[in-house]
Amino acid sequence: MIHANDEPAVPMGLPLPNGKLAMWLFLVTEIMFFTALIGSYLIYRNGQPTASQPWPTPHDVHLAEWIGAVNTFVLICSSLTVVLALWSLHVGNSKRAVQYIGVTLALGCVFLVIKAYEYQQKFAHGILPGRVFEKLDSPHGYKYMRHVQEQLEHIEKHGGVNDKAKKACAELLADIRAGKLQPKDVNERVRGTKSIKETNPGKEFITTKDSTYVDLPERSRPKDAPMVEGILEMDTHAHLSYSIPFGNMWASCYFAMTGFHALHVFGGLVVFAIMLVMAWRGRFGPQNAQMVEVTGLYWHFVDIVWIFLFPLLYLV
């Protein structure tokens, strides 16, 4: 007869501390979550758009690559500081660990401030889900024209652009009021054609058949037509809307992906703040190494997500 005590010892569960195992399990669900978001983005981006109706470039949607690169650098630095905080606890230097956690918290805040600035730019230029003008055929086109008219009237009243752009704004407003223009013409005079090739790198290789859906000025005008200097080429800060193919879908993807990522960053910052409060109350030391390690795992994962979001949104 075999007694329970005679049974060979069977290792139970994974050979990991409970907290660390729980974090890894949580992280694999997070991997699925962000893969779904990124996968959906890749479909939208590569599925529907065509050569004549391309996916927006970063410049089309007021996205600056260098800002994304700075944020990448900030998160990489914070990943280093959090791993050094854990390292400091392992070598018995709790004070240094608290300093590293403080720096991590500060870097996370810098990331969110930069992200907030970016969001503010999107709101200022109306690049929001459902707010971007994609089609310029009626009735969307006339809605777009009315919108630009309101923006021009605002500029006429309050200024905010340089003299050259202000003069062009006044002329465009007069032409719209006189009923001389079609929505496509308004779009062309806002956006311009001179820098369109620069802001759409590589697009000169693609077919130039006319688009019936959207109106990149370059495509919808005859080959021998003179170049038009757009108001936005005179003053890039002018708050004037223009047609962005797939702009609404882009905005939805951008806010979903970066918004969820920013929420994750915020969650990590809360835990770092709790650690600092613990340190302030004298209750932080080597006994908290696992807490730092588990939070670090989470923070590194947040960094990895950004490592993919940065090229997908800003570069590729």
Binding site: L16, G19, G39, N46, A69, S79, L80, W87, A289, Q290
Partner: protein, 134 residues
């Protein structure tokens, strides 16, 4: 070599101590303390090395993007390089910063199914993305 040894002891620590934190293991023997200090220094160096590598890789991505703007390379070449660089960066962070170098043997059973699911999901999406049905 010493770094590898430390990774083992670091990884095995949870075996012997269960839920106890890493900070609790103090080395009273002189030789151990010396070895521990060496390992700690090696770890520090590896963290700094990975940090520098991540910065360099970020710069590479940025430069390749600018090369497209200058018309020097095609967008497809740049996109391929940039995405490969992103995968390498993520690997660096996971392997060293997240200690997968030491812990992979313990978490692979929960990681591999997820990775398979993720790869499958992307593959299922590919026809729509690549062919576009147009």
């Amino acid at each position: 070599m010493s770094e590898q040894h430390h990774d083992h002891s670091h990884g095995d620590h949870s075996h012997s101590h269960g839920d106890h934190s890493h900070g609790e293991h103090s080395h009273s023997h002189g030789g151990d303390a010396h070895g521990h200090a060496d390992d700690a220094a090696a770890h520090f160096r590896s963290y700094i090395a990975i940090f520098i590598a991540l910065c360099v890789f970020t710069a590479i991505s940025f430069v390749f993007n600018e090369l497209v703007r200058g018309g020097i390379i095609s967008p497809m070449t740049s996109a391929t390089v940039i995405m490969i660089v992103a995968i390498i960066k993520a690997g660096c962070v996971a392997y060293i910063f997240m200690h997968l170098k030491a812990d992979w043997g313990k978490v692979y059973c929960i990681m591999i199914p997820v990775v398979i699911m993720c790869v499958m999901m992307i593959i299922v999406f590919l026809p729509d993305g690549v062919l576009g049905w147009r």
